[in-house]
């Protein structure tokens, strides 16, 4: 896209969208949002960057999101299987109300957000593969 105004505007707006996505993901155990909502916001930020500046880096990174997504899916399946084998443990929990007070829930939210973002980007890359 050769629009000068959208290039200048989204050069700065994209960073705020991505930071907001990480905010929603990391505050998933405290406030509304969580893995899926933050992941979609993150994917839409990357999609904006891809649609406006995109054509020069999609060749190198085309296969990366699907690989990361499948890896996280296998990791989640292994962890869910291990939950039935070992005694239940939440990990280190902090004081209630602070950011990382959820123990392993914060890590799970981060992995789910990355998985959702990679899945949406993979679908978009499959759609734009034709041209």
């Amino acid at each position: 896209m050769n629009d000068y105004i959208s290039r200048v505007v989204f050069r700065y707006v994209t960073l705020f969208i991505i930071v907001y996505g990480f905010y929603v993901i990391l505050h998933g155990s405290l406030s509304p949002g969580g893995g899926f909502g933050g992941g979609t916001v993150l994917a839409m930020g990357v999609l904006m960057y891809f649609l406006i500046f995109g054509a020069h880096w999609r060749g190198k990174l085309r296969e990366a999101p699907m690989g990361v997504g499948v890896s996280l899916l296998v990791f989640g399946a292994v962890v869910e299987a291990l939950k039935f084998l070992i005694p239940h443990e939440h990990g280190p929990v902090g004081t209630p109300g602070t950011l990382f007070s959820g123990g392993l829930v914060s890590l799970a939210n981060f992995c789910i957000g990355t998985l959702v973002a990679c899945a949406i980007l993979s679908i978009i890359y499959l759609l734009v593969k034709e041209d």
Partner: protein, 82 residues
Amino acid sequence: MIFAPEYVIFILLTLLVLAIGAIFIFEDLLVMAIIYGGYSIVMAFVWQLLNAPDIAITEAAVAIGSSVLMITVISRVGRRPE
């Protein structure tokens, strides 16, 4: 917790019904994509008023992404359906 008057959600639901009725009026695909974006934003407000803020965040994000993808596809295909 959002304290809004009762009639606000009825106004928003009326806008949703108008967006559904606009399907039968317009035939331009670009107009349909813009109406879909407006429908999704109104739906996000409805979720927020029904005290479901996470669904509102997801709805707004998916609405932006799918509207942009629809407009991208329409710019390749053409505005008039056959």
